[in-house]
């Protein structure tokens, strides 16, 4: 496999400018990055450093004001709303701080959500979602509602959902932010396990202990990359 092929995420001099009233805010001021397949990277920084903007951009929820962002060979900047949706559906999985499970759906239905939009038939959905529930250790909870589960369990359901479409990149936004240390550790262990299995994970966090699990840590400040640490 050549180096070019193994690059999943490529950012080149990316700027993101927001218009706040009369003032222009440079949330990202020239970021260039490259992530290879199998990377586990933590993006760190104080609030206002641009790490959330970075995650939204990486998650194709937003487009760069200038510069280029290439995800799995697709030029995100030139894409329309429908194409971005399609790209998220095929290539990305999201894990949120507050889990964001849909309360009226069961665990299984929550996991099946991406498959529903992918247009899978019911039998295939069910088989796949049960496998995923088993993989995150919740096979016996599939017919429960999210509100009947603990925080750690809910986050594991969210991870199963993020994995349902077998995404190229998993994006995690403070995945342990709403969990106590012990359950947080369990969730991180699960993410590490997924990374060991070859999944690319990009994670935003401000906790050094959590970031320590990642193989690379990018520190951001004022919309710029301050420094990059490699290794555990």
């Amino acid at each position: 496999m050549t180096r070019e092929n193994s690059v999943v995420v490529h950012l080149e001099d990316v700027h993101k400018v927001y218009q706040m009233g009369t003032e222009k805010v440079h949330a990202l001021a020239g970021v260039s990055l490259e992530f290879e397949r199998g990377t586990f990277c933590a993006i760190m920084g104080p609030s206002g450093s641009g790490k959330s903007t970075m995650l939204n951009l990486l998650g194709c929820l937003d487009r760069p004001s200038s510069g280029t962002y290439t995800l799995a060979g697709n030029d995100v900047g030139s894409m329309g709303d429908n194409e971005l949706s399609e790209l998220r559906l095929r290539e990305l999985g999201f894990i949120f701080q507050s889990f964001n499970l849909i309360p009226q759906l069961t665990v299984r239905e929550n996991i099946e959500l991406p498959l529903f939009y992918l247009g899978w038939d019911a039998a295939r959905c069910e088989k796949h979602s049960l496998e995923l529930a088993d993989r995150v250790g919740l096979a016996d909870r599939v017919n429960h509602r999210p509100t009947e589960l603990s925080g750690g369990q809910q986050q594991r359901v969210a991870i199963a959902r993020a994995l349902a479409n077998d995404p190229r990149v998993l994006l995690a936004d403070e995945p342990t932010g709403n969990l106590d240390t012990a359950t947080g550790e369990q969730v991180m262990a699960l993410l590490c396990e997924l990374n060991d299995a070859g999944k690319t994970i990009l994670m935003v966090t401000h906790e050094a202990e959590v970031a320590a699990h990642a193989s690379r840590r990018i520190h951001m400040r004022d919309g710029r990359i301050e420094r990059i640490e490699e290794g555990n």
Partner: protein
């Protein structure tokens, strides 16, 4: 979009609606009552106008009915003793109408005489109707037994009589009575048939139900009883001379009726010095009744439309609240990869499910209201099939129309903002 996904959207919609049962129910009420009122009003209106239209149709839409009436000027004179008033349709009028208008297919003259009838020991006041076989063709009433009057009866000046079912019962006559002799006045008539009685037959001479009719050949009636009727009332004597009491003119086609009607009016005006006749055109009544019905339908339709509009606004209001409430869900779905169109479909299906269920409940209530009206008020009601189709269609359309704005608003939310929403 395939069937599976639509079905999943529908079941998801139902699930979301069941999450807030009371709210969904209250939201539906607008549509429920809108639809119920449409159906109830249309049914009651339809029932009322059907009765009127049926009565008019019975008179025959190709018929023109001329009835003799005593002219107003005669009232004062008839108060004086033993004055004879002469009025009404003449035998010549019938001949003239038959000969003048080529569009006239048939005419049925009627002459009425009151006589006492006697069958065995039973005596009754009869309304003797002198008429022709054409009358039986025109009114199209089925025979209960025997036969109606036929042409030969008139040719032979036969002493034959046809009774109505009601009259026959009053006279204790049965099927076995056919062939027996009925005495009318001083003459004997052979009973040849019994014809079904009709309640609202449109011959406005008297309440038909209270009368015992005996139909005999017109020429026989004329020869036996003449044209002069003498009625004694408390000391005064009142006599009148009327040749024909009624003349039914049948025209070949509905669209010729008005022309013939105008012709007859002009003709009668020329030959009658006084207006001693009245002309009814069931077709005109029919047209009038239908116009009234149309107006009625438009008024009811507008009321129903307004109530459905209010119901639709209610739905829109709740759906907007629901969109706000579920902003985060929308954000999550968008992040996972749902397209705008898919979000629109999801919310639209929810409102359509809501309004369709509301519509179906409304149909249930709407169909039971006319039953209650018929049961308690005795008014006839007809639930028109089209009103059911219309109501379901309209309630679905209301869901679609008023669900569209909230759905589009949901789909246009910025996913980043939506995910940040508390």
């Amino acid at each position: 979009m395939d069937r599976v996904r639509i079905w999943r959207n529908v079941s998801l919609g139902i699930k979301n609606l069941m999450l807030h049962k009371l709210r969904s129910l209250l939201t539906m009420l607008g549509i429920v009552f809108g639809v119920a009122s449409v159906i109830a009003m249309l049914s009651i209106g339809e029932g009322a106008s059907k009765e009127a239209l049926d009565q008019i149709r019975k008179l025959g839409s190709t018929n023109i009915i001329i009835t003799s009436i005593k002219p107003l000027e005669d009232e004062s004179q008839s108060k004086q003793n033993s004055f004879m008033s002469v009025y009404g349709i003449l035998y010549d009028d019938e001949t003239r109408i038959r000969e003048t208008f080529s569009d006239v297919e048939n005419t049925a003259p009627i002459k009425i005489i009151r006589k006492e009838g006697r069958l065995y020991e039973r005596a009754l006041d009869l309304r003797v109707v002198g008429t022709t076989e054409e009358w039986f063709n025109l009114v199209r009433r089925p025979m209960v037994a025997g036969r109606p009057l036929v042409q030969n009866d008139l040719v032979d000046h036969a002493n034959v009589v046809v009774l109505t079912e009601f009259g026959a019962r009053r006279l204790l006559a049965t099927e076995g009575t056919i062939g027996q002799s009925l005495r009318i006045g001083t003459d004997y008539y052979e009973v040849v048939g019994i014809v079904q009685s009709e309640s609202g037959q449109g011959i406005e001479i008297a309440m038909p139900d209270q009368e015992v009719d005996a139909y005999i050949p017109l020429n026989v009636a004329r020869e036996r009883y003449g044209d002069t009727i003498i009625r004694r009332t408390s000391g005064s004597r009142e006599s009148s001379r009327v040749e024909l009491h009624q003349l039914i003119v049948q025209v070949s086609h509905e669209n010729r009726v008005e022309a013939v009607d105008a012709g007859i009016r002009a003709m009668l005006k020329r030959f009658h010095k006084k207006v001693d006749y009245k002309i009814d055109m069931p077709l005109a009544l029919l047209q009038q009744a239908e116009a009234t019905k149309r107006t009625f339908s438009i008024v009811l339709g507008s009321i129903a439309g307004i109530s459905l509009l209010v119901g639709g606004i209610g739905i829109m209001n709740i759906m907007l609240a629901s969109v706000t409430e579920r902003t985060r869900e929308i954000g999550v779905r968008r992040a996972i990869g749902a397209k705008r169109r898919q979000i629109i479909v999801q919310f639209l299906i929810e409102t359509i499910v809501l309004s369709t269920i509301g519509g179906l409940i409304g149909i249930g209530i709407g169909m039971s209201i006319p039953l209650l009206v018929t049961y308690f008020a005795g008014m006839p009601t007809v639930v028109p099939m089209y009103s059911l189709v219309l109501s379901v269609g309209i309630s679905m359309a209301v869901g679609l129309l008023f669900g569209l704005y909230p759905a589009v608003r949901a789909a246009n939310l910025d996913p980043i903002e939506a995910l940040r929403h508390e």
